[in-house]
């Protein structure tokens, strides 16, 4: 597969881009699990986006007389101890979980890509300094670091994005730097140089787009990590705060009452696990499709 795309780029440079993507798409669509992941993910995202119109009950709608009831025809996933519809809670919780996943990943993406690209392109002392900083941050026990951040600065959503993004960009920076270092030795970059293009333009227009494959792959695999982290923090009571709700928080509540009402733990847990599954399968599939070289098998 690798040789195929290479020979293609030799034949016709101008079409390389589109055919590379087409190629990747063909490979991805042959991967049933990855497609299933993609479909599931899109489905969950649409539901989360349309929550106010789709959810069968109001978010804060209580039915104290009903209390916690097992799944029934009226309440497909049962109700919690306040008689709130679980399906509705999970849909709204998914909104927050998915939002955190994508936004924090974008934060990590922006920091990581710019950091890695600059370090890799500059090389020399600046590179050494920048990567040393990454090493130092890597060695930080980051869970501790995030817990510290959340405890110390209060628990707001914006900070959560920042904290998670601040941790997750490191690997991205390393990957991008590695890519850039190989790319910058190649002839087309030399050509851009000799044409007198300024460095920023070369990085943004020529280097980053060529490293986009691994970036997409790694970003897809970062989203589940981020979502896990958010759930983890919410579980410790440091993440999303009520009345907002996320899957991690719902699981936290579910644990408290799991002996009497196990469905309050199982359904949000399922929602989170299925989403993580979908993202991981999609990420693996994308890696095989976009980046056959680093693919593990």
């Amino acid at each position: 597969m690798e040789t195929k795309s290479k020979s293609m780029s030799e034949k016709d440079y101008s079409e390389e881009n589109s055919s590379l993507w087409k190629d990747a798409w063909t490979r991805l669509s042959n991967n049933k699990l990855a497609l299933l992941g993609l479909v599931t993910l899109v489905f969950f995202c649409i539901i989360a986006f349309l929550a106010p119109w789709i959810a069968p009950y109001g978010y804060e709608e209580q039915n104290l007389i009903l209390g916690a009831s097992p799944p029934s025809y009226q309440h497909l996933l049962g109700t919690d101890i306040f008689g709130r519809d679980m399906l509705t809670r999970i849909i709204y919780g998914g909104r927050v979980s998915l939002l955190v996943g994508f936004i924090a990943t974008s934060v990590a993406l922006v920091i990581g890509v710019s950091w890695g690209a600059v370090a890799g392109y500059a090389g020399g002392k600046l590179d050494a300094f920048m990567m040393r900083l990454v090493d130092i941050l890597y060695a930080l026990p980051f869970m501790i670091f995030i817990i510290l951040l959340m405890v110390v600065f209060g628990k707001n959503l914006l900070l959560l994005f920042f904290a998670i993004g601040a941790v997750e960009w490191l690997t991205m920076a390393r990957i991008v730097r590695g890519q850039v270092m190989t790319l910058k030795k190649q002839e087309f970059i030399e050509a851009a140089h000799s044409m007198g293009l300024p460095k920023q333009i070369i990085i943004v227009r020529h280097i980053v787009p060529n490293a986009i494959g691994p970036i997409i792959v790694y970003a897809t695999l970062t989203v589940p990590n981020v979502m896990l982290l958010e759930a983890f923090l919410s579980f410790l009571g440091l993440g999303i705060q009520p009345p907002e709700s996320s899957w991690g928080l719902l699981i936290n509540y579910g644990v408290e009452t799991m002996e009497e009402y196990p469905w309050l733990l199982i359904f949000p847990g399922l929602a989170l696990t299925i989403t993580l599954f979908a993202l991981n399968f999609l990420g693996d599939g994308l890696r095989d499709a976009l980046d056959p070289k680093t693919s593990k098998d």
Partner: protein, 312 residues
């Protein structure tokens, strides 16, 4: 080899220094101090307290004071537990966390290696798909979900195992170790499979097969040595992750370890305790990363050679 180890050890110094600095800045830029959370302390007492712990000094003086103490091996007194110093507190809680991490590591390596090797021996067959699907579940099932589910099934419905505690009932370490170890078992299984697939397609394995060696000798003796390199390199980060994961597992199972201590210290603004624990964790993580990198390098003849030839 030795050169590599020495360089890495030297590199650990700025890392630890960075950890101290970042943590110091972070906790001191936070609103509230160690004594502000208490029931209204009279102002005179507050001043006396702050003087006692040097909190009245300018920040940079506190910082260098702390560094000085740290270099001479003194983590300082705890603010919240008067009369006890941080080193004592860490020493009393850490063995529990270490024990938990050790058992979890055994679970992770045992299950992970076995599943990975089994999968790699017959790639793309049921023998491959079954353990790898399980591994995917292990990766996607967060510990704070797995733990309660295990408690629900084995502790409450089946009543086979105790649901919480540490060292109080027989078998109370099984569920925590499985909870913390499963995710890493899954990663190790995937890494083992990948590494083994790489190695088993090499020429020297074909030679071994041609010699008529049994499959078990080929896999265990010739395959594992090379196939385990990515796994060994992963053990350092895995250990770091386990320390972090121990927060949750210690909370779920009510285990008196360092993780719970730490969260408490952060809530209490116990500056010296936070700093001490963070540095302690960081030092542990740095040394485990170092050990696993050195081991991985020692196992890989190619890298050993490169280290000798490459004098950059």
């Amino acid at each position: 080899m030795i050169r590599f180890a020495a360089v890495r050890l030297l590199q650990a110094i700025p890392v630890l220094f960075g950890v101290i600095t970042i943590t110091f800045i972070l906790i001191h830029s936070a609103p509230g101090g160690p004594f502000s959370a208490d029931k209204a302390v009279p102002p005179e007492v507050l001043i006396a307290l702050e003087e006692k712990y040097d909190l009245n000094l300018p920040l940079w003086q506190q910082y260098f004071g702390y560094l000085e103490d740290f270099i001479s091996g003194d983590f300082g007194p705890s603010f919240k537990y008067p009369g006890r110093n941080v080193s004592e507190l860490i020493a009393s809680a850490f063995p529990t966390t270490a024990e938990l991490a050790l058992y979890s590591m055994i679970v992770a390596i045992g299950i992970g290696l076995f599943a990975g090797v089994v999968a790699a021996m017959r790639p793309n067959s049921v023998q491959d798909y079954a353990p790898m699907s399980l591994a995917m579940i292990g990766i996607c099932m967060p510990s704070f979900l797995l733990g309660p589910l295990l408690v629900l099934i084995f502790g409450i419905y089946l009543e086979w195992l105790p649901i919480s505690g540490w060292n109080s009932l027989p078998g109370d370490k099984i569920l925590p170790a499985i909870t913390l170890g499963t995710g890493y078992a899954a990663y190790i299984a995937r890494l083992t499979r990948g590494g083994m697939l790489d190695i088993l397609s090499q020429d020297y394995i074909r030679t071994a097969r041609a010699k008529g060696l049994s499959e078990i000798v080929i896999v265990c003796k010739h395959g594992l040595r090379g196939g385990l390199i990515p796994v060994v390199a992963f053990l350092g980060p895995a250990f770091a992750g386990m320390l972090g994961g121990s927060f949750v597992v210690e909370t779920i199972f009510n285990i008196p370890g360092l993780g719970r201590f730490y969260v408490q210290a952060a809530f209490n603004r116990d500056y010296t305790m936070i700093l001490g624990t963070t540095i302690f964790f960081a030092a542990l993580i740095v040394s485990f990363n170092l050990i696993s990198d050195i081991l991985a390098m020692w196992m890989n003849p190619k890298l050993r050679q490169k280290d000798l030839g490459d004098e950059k």
